[in-house]
């Protein structure tokens, strides 16, 4: 078990390095492909007013002429030890962990990310709780009453839920529940939990529901399929032969087994969401990582985009790691070989 954990941890670290190198290369190459030169990149830091000589000097000081692997090495070093950005007039210090320095807002990226993580985390956790509760129970009931009216209604509804995009359901939700009925908060009213838990929940209620709607639909279908399979297994027959009440047969034996593959998908979904629920945050103007990414892209703020991308990758890798470890807890055949 210990070696299993160590192996997984090691793999996760290696994976993060590979992802960071790949991401960095993309952000290094793409601007050059569309015609940017070290000088144009440097111009962003010092402003258009600077003379070509200054620009050239700054580009040199920022290391824009260096080969890619050197620049990558410096970027990684910044994460661990911090970095200094010499802009000629001033030298900006970006303390560790330095995930880049925005030349547009003239701020390090990391504090921004730290500010936004709680928003995205709040959104993701709340929605996940909702979609797990609804998805699993609707899916289970559907499987048990396969072919019934309830099953067909649930599956039709969930097909709609899967296929309707967030920006559609989100807009409709805002229109009806916030503006017409006034039951939920309008967009852009996010408040920190520490400031006011009730305002926090009020602002997030509709985003949670809208996000959960889509995932519940998907999880209901997954759960239904999984339950249909496990409820036909021999060990279910054994559980019945023991005289277990049908509820225990379903939950302790059926659902328990059906949950394992769902756990994997949940880990991935949740990890992806932590990297930024882009559409939801955009529709509801929630200042999370997703909205941060969209804003950074709109402003062509490459260091920010790179930072938030790394953050997202980090969450996905960590979520996968946790799923792998949970798998071992859940499935003794993994744990004990």
């Amino acid at each position: 078990m210990i070696t299993y954990i160590i192996r997984r941890l090691f793999a996760a670290v290696v994976l993060l390095f590979i992802i960071s190198a790949a991401t960095f290369s993309i952000f290094y190459l793409v601007p050059r492909l569309v015609g940017s030169t070290p000088e144009t990149l440097a111009t962003r830091y010092v402003g258009r007013a600077a003379t070509p000589e200054t620009v050239h000097l700054i580009a040199e000081k920022l290391g824009f002429y260096d080969p890619i692997w050197l620049q990558y090495g410096r970027w990684v070093k910044g994460i661990f030890f911090g970095a200094d950005y010499d802009l000629g007039a001033t030298v900006e210090h970006c303390p560790a962990p330095c995930f880049g320095y925005s030349f547009i807002t003239k701020t390090p990226v990391w504090p921004d990310l730290v500010d936004r993580i709680p928003v995205t985390l709040s959104l993701a956790i709340g929605a996940a709780i909702l979609w797990l509760i609804f998805g699993l129970s609707i899916g289970t009931l559907s499987a048990l009453r396969r072919g019934s009216f309830l099953d067909r209604a649930a599956m039709t509804f969930s097909l709609a839920g899967v296929s309707l995009p967030i920006f559609f359901t989100g807009m409709i939700g805002l229109l009806v529940f916030s503006y017409k009925l006034g039951w939920t908060a309008p967009g852009g009213s996010y408040t920190d939990f520490t400031e006011s838990p009730s305002a926090w929940a009020y602002a997030l209620l509709l985003p949670w529901i809208v996000l959960a709607l889509q995932f519940s639909a998907q999880y209901a279908r997954l759960t239904r399929a999984g339950m249909l399979e496990t409820m036909g297994e021999d060990y279910i027959r054994t559980a019945r032969a023991k005289g277990l009440p049908e509820r225990d047969v379903t939950v302790k034996h059926g659902l328990r087994a059906a949950l394992t593959p769902i756990l994997t998908i949940f880990g991935l979904d949740f990890g992806l969401l932590l990297g930024g629920a882009v559409l939801t945050e955009q529709v509801f103007s929630l200042p999370g990582l997703g909205k941060y990414a969209v804003d950074a892209i709109t402003n062509n703020d490459l260091p920010k985009v790179l930072g938030v991308t790394m953050m997202a990758a980090f969450f996905v890798v960590i979520a996968n790691l946790i799923v792998d470890l949970l798998y071992a807890v859940v499935d003794p055949r993994v744990r004990l070989g």
Binding site: E233, R237, G243, P245, P332, L336
Partner: protein
């Protein structure tokens, strides 16, 4: 209990499944009796309805996709008409079941001990500690070495034979009075098969339970059974004491089964003579006798075999029933003069 009623009495049991292709008559009018301390062997090829029948007795069927009728009397109580909750409380308690493939029949995510404890606690209001002690005790009795340690193992950590022992421990944990074993040894290799059969035999004597052994292997039946019921296409086609069935069988299908029976005392090369043809589809049973398309003696029925379904009637032996159009004397003659010498010469 009404006078003369056996411990287990099944009367005209029918279990049918309506499907899109038609009505599947998996069990079609079965009747038999069994006393405590006795063993009934139910034999038949794959698909003859053995498992459906045993699950029916256990009350494990889905009312939404099956139709069940007839009577099952267990110790004076009728189960077919009883409420689901009543039957559930009997299940695993007064009547228990062992399944064919012990690996898939155990939950992969729970320890063997957990699964036995669960079986005990459903029917006994005791603490986990007490139930665990009981589970360890049971594992020891079915011959698991170091049961106090193995109790925390998962099914995949057990060998095939040990798994089946654990299944038996799980089934016997509540001292059931009726035990149904559905092909308990099919998934095991030969030496382990013998051990498991010995174990079941000993435990049955110890618990004085009624035992139903379901198998397509007459060798198992010869070893364990007092009575034998031969099933074909959901129906009983021959029923009698084990000595009757092995020494004076009257149904051509039973002859075929005996001919295909593995014999320990014979060289292996020439022991298997399969019955020609394949088991019937339960939806479109052949006209007349279900076995007629595969029966070598069908021409001797004068056309009855393919037109009229035979009734289950008294045969030569005492308490011996057979479902065949051939006259009793003719069957006895064929057995004595044609089939028996051939089997012995094999």
């Amino acid at each position: 209990m009404p006078d003369g009623q056996a411990f287990l009495e099944v009367k005209d049991l029918k279990i049918h499944f309506p499907t899109d292709d038609g009505l599947v008559r998996s069990a079609d009018g079965l009747s038999f009796k069994l006393e405590r301390g006795r063993t009934l062997g139910i034999v038949g090829e794959s698909g003859s309805g053995k498992s459906v029948t045993s699950l029916g007795i256990m009350g494990i069927y889905n009312k939404r996709n099956s139709q069940i009728s007839g009577e099952i009397w267990l110790d004076g109580d009728e189960i077919v008409s009883a409420g689901q909750e009543t039957v559930r409380k009997l299940r695993g308690n007064k009547l228990a079941m062992i399944f064919q493939d012990p690996l898939s029949a155990m939950h992969p995510y729970y320890t063997v001990g957990h699964q036995i404890i669960e079986a005990y606690q459903v029917h006994h209001n005791v603490s986990k500690k007490v139930a665990r002690k009981h589970a360890i005790d049971m594992l020891g009795r079915v011959g698991i070495p170091q049961p106090d340690r193995r109790v925390d193992d998962y099914p995949h950590q057990f060998s095939g034979g040990m798994r089946q022992r654990a299944m038996i421990a799980m089934a016997l944990v509540n001292d059931p009075q009726l035990l149904i074993a559905d092909e308990p040894t099919t998934a095991l290799d030969v030496t382990v098969q013998a051990q498991i059969m010995d174990l079941m035999h000993d435990l049955q004597a110890e618990f004085n339970s009624a035992l139903i052994v379901i198998t397509h292997d007459l060798g198992v039946v010869a070893e364990l059974a007092d009575d034998v019921l031969v099933m074909y296409g959901g129906k009983c086609i021959e029923y009698g004491s084990a000595s009757t069935i092995f020494e004076r069988p009257e149904h051509p299908y039973t002859w075929g089964l005996l001919g295909s029976m593995p014999r320990m005392d014979r060289p292996t090369q020439d022991r298997l003579v399969p019955i020609p043809g394949s088991p019937p589809s339960l939806i479109n049973l052949p006209q007349g006798c279900a076995f007629s398309p595969r029966c070598a003696y069908e021409p001797q029925t004068g056309g009855l075999g393919t037109t009229v379904p035979p009734e289950l009637v008294r045969a030569g032996g005492s308490n011996h029933l057979v479902r065949c159009h051939l006259p009793t004397e003719e069957r006895q003659r064929i057995w004595a003069e044609e089939v028996k010498p051939k089997l012995e010469a094999q």
